[in-house]
């Protein structure tokens, strides 16, 4: 009784913290984009979470945690009905369900940042159903629902792959199909700066996300009696810190000045990077993983923009996709049990790589089909005139900042 209460309180509080991450995502995404689209971005995030909760409760949870069908997916317990006795939960089912719900909405919301400032609102809603009901829960089943990846020993403690790289891959696919914002690339293909309208909001969002991550990672023990929560919290924090410090230093080196936006992204990179391994690596490894993520994020942003020429306004693909993959692989190197650097050989590393590939091979095609289907039906992108005027006026008929004089201009490449 006491034990179950402790676990339940822990899981609930972690859920509340993860819930708040949605405020963080919303602030980051809004702050890093233009004022004329702020209302639309809010709506996408807010509805992404809200409708995501409903959809996941109805369908996603069953696909993810129903009794496994050959390790591939679950198919019972729709509408959250059923005992789910096979899960052997230490907490009441509702506690587990709310924790999984807030997680599911996180995977979905990542895409919204990459597709910001040009996506039709209705299209976004449809996409959101697809990823929450199906694409994400299948991956979740593989890893956390007793599926085949779990069975071969794949380790993704809190979701570098399950949550973040699924979001990242879908974001990449979506942003690529959607095409860049007007003015993002010059005729010669070189990228232009489109500065976000409120860096302070962006920073607030990152702080909130960091805070919420203390629910995301330590909460993934699903038990407060499991005292590794302390080490997990410590690892999570130091990895984020190392990511921020390295991104700051590396941007200074590379661009001549410490870049605010990339430094903020650096902390998120560190958080995403440590998410897979936070329960199986030590403090020193956490610093290294975070530091690596802080550099990787900057190279990732450049790669996606300059090589792939995909327009990802908030760097969602680099943060969640690239660093999600990276963090998952790092488990193969740094896991104190089984990691290559800790004498465990290459076995775990190969399993980790297999998992990364399998998830990419699942997410990219399904997301591709989903976005193509949306494009062919409701349409994916707003008209150019609406994009120029801003989606707030076009999609919702509002002005987000009615009392301020705005610029609405776009800077020229230097």
């Amino acid at each position: 009784m006491t034990e179950m209460a402790i676990d339940t309180i822990w899981v609930l509080l972690a859920s509340f913290l993860v819930f708040l991450m949605h405020a963080g995502f919303t602030m980051v995404e809004t702050g890093f984009t233009r004022a004329k689209n702020a209302g639309n971005i809010i709506m996408k995030n807010f509805m992404g979470y809200s409708s995501g909760c409903i959809v996941y409760t109805i369908a996603g949870f069953a696909v993810m945690f129903g009794v496994t069908r050959g390790g591939l997916f679950g198919a019972d317990g729709f509408l959250a009905r059923g005992e789910f006795a096979h899960l052997g939960l230490l907490v009441p089912l509702p506690a587990f369900l709310i924790f999984q719900t807030v997680f599911a909405a996180t995977a979905a919301t990542i895409v919204s940042g990459a597709m910001a400032e040009r996506t039709r609102f209705g299209a976004y809603l449809v996409y959101n159903v697809g990823i929450t009901a199906f694409i994400y829960p299948v991956v979740g089943h593989w890893v956390w629902g007793g599926g085949w990846l779990a069975q071969i020993g794949f380790i993704d403690f809190a979701g570098s792959t399950v949550v973040h790289s699924v979001g990242g891959w879908a974001a990449l696919t979506g942003a690529w199909i959607l095409g860049p914002r007007i003015g993002k690339f010059s005729a010669d293909g070189s990228p232009n700066a489109i500065p976000g309208h409120n860096i302070v909001l962006g920073a607030l969002g990152v702080f909130i996300l960091w805070f919420g991550w203390f629910g995301f990672n330590p909460g993934s023990t699903l038990s407060g009696l499991d005292l590794t929560i302390a080490q997990i919290a410590l690892n999570t924090n130091i990895s984020a810190a190392a990511g921020a410090v390295m991104a700051m230093a590396f941007s200074w080196l590379r661009y001549g000045r410490p870049d605010v936006g990339l430094t903020l992204n650096g902390a998120l990179a560190g958080l995403v990077g440590i998410t897979a391994g936070c329960a199986v690596v030590d403090l020193a490894a956490s610093v290294l993983i975070g530091a690596g993520a802080g550099i990787l994020i900057i190279l990732g942003v450049e790669f996606i923009e300059k090589v792939l020429r995909v327009d990802d306004p908030v760097g969602a693909v680099a943060v969640h996709g690239v660093c999600g993959v990276y963090g998952t692989l790092m488990v193969g190197l740094f896991a104190t049990e089984g990691g290559l650097f800790y004498g465990g050989g290459t076995g775990l590393l190969l399993v980790q790589a297999a998992g990364v590939l399998a998830v990419a091979a699942w997410t990219v095609p399904t997301a591709y089909l989903l976005f193509k289907a949306i494009k062919a039906t409701v349409g994916l992108r707003v008209p150019a005139r609406e994009e120029e005027e801003g989606l707030d006026l076009g999609e919702h008929g509002i002005e987000a900042y009615a009392d301020f004089v705005k610029r609405n201009t776009q800077p020229l490449a230097g």
């Binding site: 005027e389 006026l393 008929g397 509002i398 002005e399 705005k406 609405n408 201009t409 020229l412």
Partner: protein, 112 residues
């Protein structure tokens, strides 16, 4: 000396400015304005109440230049700012009697 005032689409500011700069118009002053003309406004809504946003964002560029450069500059502005759709904006020319450079006290054409 004449003042050329042009009101253009915000998205065209950088292109116009850059082109004018290349043609030797060094000084200009830019204001973020809202304007209406033939271009239709938009309806907005707030908590169920509809209202009209018929003053749309524009950018006003003012530059004082020698009288003989006016026509050339007008041409350049049109070339860069024109999209052919309603809302492209206007150019106005008005007289200026004197100019002073605060830094040096120079007057007239030398001050431009």
């Amino acid at each position: 000396m004449k003042k050329i005032t042009c009101i253009i689409r915000p998205a065209k500011l950088e292109a116009v400015k850059e082109r004018l700069g290349r043609e030797g118009v060094k000084g200009m002053t830019v204001t973020h304005v809202i304007g209406c003309g033939l271009q239709q406004g938009r309806t907005a809504q707030y908590r169920g109440n509809v209202y009209v946003v018929n003053l749309l964002p524009k950018v006003k560029i003012e530059m004082v230049v020698e009288a003989e450069r006016v026509e050339a500059i007008i041409d350049l502005i049109i070339r860069e700012a024109k999209t052919g759709e309603i809302g492209d904006g206007k150019i106005f020319v008005s007289p200026v009697e004197d100019a002073v450079r605060i830094r040096t006290g120079e007057r007239g054409k030398n001050a431009l």
